[in-house]
Symmetry: D2
Subunit: 350 residues, 4 copies
Amino acid sequence: MFFASDNWAGVHPAVASALSDAAAGFDPAYGSGAWDKRVAEQFNTIFEREVAVFFVATGTAANSLALASVARPGGVVFASAEAHIYTDEAGGPEYLTGGSRVRAVPGSGGKIDPQGLAQALRSFEGASVHAGQPGSVSITQSTEIGTVYSLSEIAALADIAKARGLPMHMDGARFANGLVALGCTPAEMSWKCGVDMLSFGGTKNGCWCAEAVIIFDAERARELPFYRMRAGHLHSKSRFIAAQFEAYLAGGLWLDSARHANAMARDLAALFEQGGAARLAWRPDANEVFAIIGEDVAARLQAAGAKFYDWRPPHWLHDAVGPDEKLYRFVTSFATTPADVSALGALLNA
Amino acid sequence: MFFASDNWAGVHPAVASALSDAAAGFDPAYGSGAWDKRVAEQFNTIFEREVAVFFVATGTAANSLALASVARPGGVVFASAEAHIYTDEAGGPEYLTGGSRVRAVPGSGGKIDPQGLAQALRSFEGASVHAGQPGSVSITQSTEIGTVYSLSEIAALADIAKARGLPMHMDGARFANGLVALGCTPAEMSWKCGVDMLSFGGTKNGCWCAEAVIIFDAERARELPFYRMRAGHLHSKSRFIAAQFEAYLAGGLWLDSARHANAMARDLAALFEQGGAARLAWRPDANEVFAIIGEDVAARLQAAGAKFYDWRPPHWLHDAVGPDEKLYRFVTSFATTPADVSALGALLNA
Amino acid sequence: MFFASDNWAGVHPAVASALSDAAAGFDPAYGSGAWDKRVAEQFNTIFEREVAVFFVATGTAANSLALASVARPGGVVFASAEAHIYTDEAGGPEYLTGGSRVRAVPGSGGKIDPQGLAQALRSFEGASVHAGQPGSVSITQSTEIGTVYSLSEIAALADIAKARGLPMHMDGARFANGLVALGCTPAEMSWKCGVDMLSFGGTKNGCWCAEAVIIFDAERARELPFYRMRAGHLHSKSRFIAAQFEAYLAGGLWLDSARHANAMARDLAALFEQGGAARLAWRPDANEVFAIIGEDVAARLQAAGAKFYDWRPPHWLHDAVGPDEKLYRFVTSFATTPADVSALGALLNA
Amino acid sequence: MFFASDNWAGVHPAVASALSDAAAGFDPAYGSGAWDKRVAEQFNTIFEREVAVFFVATGTAANSLALASVARPGGVVFASAEAHIYTDEAGGPEYLTGGSRVRAVPGSGGKIDPQGLAQALRSFEGASVHAGQPGSVSITQSTEIGTVYSLSEIAALADIAKARGLPMHMDGARFANGLVALGCTPAEMSWKCGVDMLSFGGTKNGCWCAEAVIIFDAERARELPFYRMRAGHLHSKSRFIAAQFEAYLAGGLWLDSARHANAMARDLAALFEQGGAARLAWRPDANEVFAIIGEDVAARLQAAGAKFYDWRPPHWLHDAVGPDEKLYRFVTSFATTPADVSALGALLNA
């Protein structure tokens, strides 16, 4: 019953096997080898265009390097108050961009909303130098609280960003989970609706450390190799990230894994919707389920071996959480089994 | 005949196997799991004391984070003109330390010498604020040009550093190669001769991405978790770095691999010492061999499939390289075979 | 009728005269001359202890360097949502601290309140590395909205900061205005109630560019010379900042000027309290007066030559500002005359 | 006999008087007032084109902000080993550019030479990401050792920079001294021979803190306001820098002052050329004179009240300085009198 995070899971067998297969032999280092080139081609295919792909090993690196590459002096990154870059990267985006600020934009359901973004940007219109200047807009898909932006929601935000000349970044640590939730193509969920830079995550969905910064406009990618190198994020034996991605993308493994994780999340949500000892905080679109549970019940579940964390309630949920209750997060992954879910259900109803 | 770099090699079978074994199951993320704790114990054992260990995935990360953790405003890092941090990290140390300068200190054989260091430091004695201030001293063991500091050479430099209150950093990307060359213990080659911070490398010696910042004084390690996190260098599935190190350190695999690589280097050096089409630039102590070769001969070797790079000659070698010659570097690793060396020898004498 | 800002004013005649007197002759550069030493003594006297004084030319420099000198990796600076460092320094504190975040702490009246601070800090208790770590607490005295912390309010915040080991910074761009409002001593309003670092401002109160970072604990000041130098904030002809401070502090000129400005503000407030075309937003403690005025009336005043700016309403005032109204700020200074105030009054009642 | 530095001098009476005249009255802050606009026009006239002018208070600020505005990740600034940015700014350029390295380029007489620059750049041709990338070229006019680049020397360097797409920066802390030495126009000594960015200094030539970053291509200046603001270098009462420049530039005061300083330097040099107790190290082109003097003689001069510093000998002069001798620097300024020079001469010959 491991629902603590999708990064508590190990590696999908197919990815593990690909790593083993890549173990022997020599290959040019630092991304210039055969594996890297093959995988770059895979990304071109998946995104239906030439893209610039930069492998890194962590999501914080992917996000920070993407944002650094478009940072402006006195720049502000607009993101949700739930955004990983705002709450969980220990100031990495500020540090690696040379001091950009990340500013929370109003919205609900873990998303920025267009009115909120437009209003935040208006406060910089004709503004003096003192306030700084807008730098970029960053959204997370699927979001940190398990919801998913629709294509039109993304496009609406991208339109506002573009009208101000701002690049649009997507934190896709759980890109696959969002993608299968929408049932659209990777191109549709990224550059076709206005995304300029994508942190494409594999780690939470069955790889062990495979993330990529994907830049859709080659011109914007020109300096990325130096941003990555000077931050210590260029791997010498880069083929091992490539090998992970090769297996991950081959035959739709990434999509199947995400579909499985999302299905497990739906099953979990159904448990909480039955009421009783817990109630669903909101309906999940992807692989994260949030429930409001009495602290005594949660303690009982944890004592029985269920792993999950409590979560800071979004501001719009504060009133819904009772005095002896907390909000808890349950994350599913490729490795979650129906048996895990059933076992949790049995405990809940015990 | 792959002599381009030890990072063109793949992964040692034992490390690959350990990675496979770690693939299944759940484990707490971000270094708090069982693997990480076991490996931290291994490091304590190896270094004969409690040490603070921080896994990262690249040598540039290890070096830069170690140096960042002791950086001072206007600070200067003293290192060899051949140092990786000076020539090959695209300004990573400058960037991640918030603007420290890396200053080349005179020496020969790829090493700083004590007189050179003392003199460089004297120019900061009683100095005004304009010159900045000494920040740390960094040496590389084995060095970037395949030589190895003796223990007394390290201690002499450390004494000078300590007399000025400066922390001593060792870039140990090839720590194992230096260690087996000296035949001493890890403790003797690090904290016992005055090293405060060590970049401990596994990648070049059979891992695929396993580096660690090792801090010998716990107090100095207090902020390291934040330095690592904000630079995007904390791995969520940290157990996979741990698993590599576990296999790497178990049963002396790391030492055996380094001994093998060094032996292959000695055999290569013997080839070049025979004279003829090439001559040895200097005698190797570890796993890098440098030879002066006519460009036509080098081209012939490369056309026959030998992989190796030319190298900027150190200043003290300039006169030894003829007009149609270049200095070339040949690197051996755990994966180099006697057959590779023989094949190169045959080509040389062809 | 210049109420736009206290930095629209020129220089107090006594300060101007001191600058003229300092024009001729030679003096050692970079702060080592006679003037600088004399003024350092004045600061010791004023603060009733040895203090470390670092002259700079702007308030943003003073704030950023003070905060930089205590910055920690992944660090968070806690400040009011109205704080100059949060809203008006174009990310200077983030940039010059190497990526610290400034986080708004709840409160009212332009101040942080102890409950708000305690709660903000609690969210970092036992927190994982992902959230970053508390770095410092910064308050502004007098505040950006013309209110003044009482000594016990400052002490209460400092106690909370100290309990977490955090240094306490005071942005004293308008230190003098706060001081005369409280009628206490500089020592009482700073280190005696727990302030560790002070940005001491002279510019807004009659100097033309005289600010100082004051550090009360000498040990903490050790690296400041380098922080200042590497940011380009060490003046070669430092004596001219010294000369300003010398005149500013001599004979209580700074206190008299602040008293005058505060008195002018009270007179302005009295105008707005009479009701009619404008109403006082809140009672001023220092030299900034805020009024809610119909936009048509404001336009009429401005057309008649009155200079003042509209101001973003604090969140707790949103409901008080009608649809055709705005919040406006009126700032007084040593140079504001009773005639200016009367003239505005006459216009208001016209 | 104050020859320690041109920044030991005070303020030219005309500049002091202008500061006094600017003391009274109100003016919009942060550079938007009348003075700033008038002075911007003066700069347009002087440079015979529209230029973007950004006032700052120190030369380190001017240099660092100019270089920051064109910094690239992993970037390298090429400059002379005598350059102020290389030796005397405590890492300010590294810090404020976010980690660019300053690399010394060979040359002599305090200048970069074209062969040295071309060779330094060649080492980055086709280079891997590890070495970083060229970022900009910076020269100093007049140089730190009192020599002056000819227009064709500047143009030759600029051509090489341009061929690599690199912006050309001139540290003009002593721009005026170089200008009158060459007898050309400001336009000729800057953009007409390929300079893109100029640190224009007034402080060493009779102002008390008046420096400007001048950008010749408006497009390149677009972000400068934010670079300046976030580093704390925007002055609120900017009119006082403007007032200094207004007087400095009016009626050719700046040129007259520089001519005087250079003439005094020539007279000093003549003293040293007479031989005897001292000898001229090289012929000065501007206002800095370097002499090799026995330490006992120097001590005697200093005991008699002469102020001057010893100086690190450039590498090409090492052999010329005897065991009991040192290289000493004598700087003249607008405030140096013939009597000062005569007095030194009398001492020398005593």
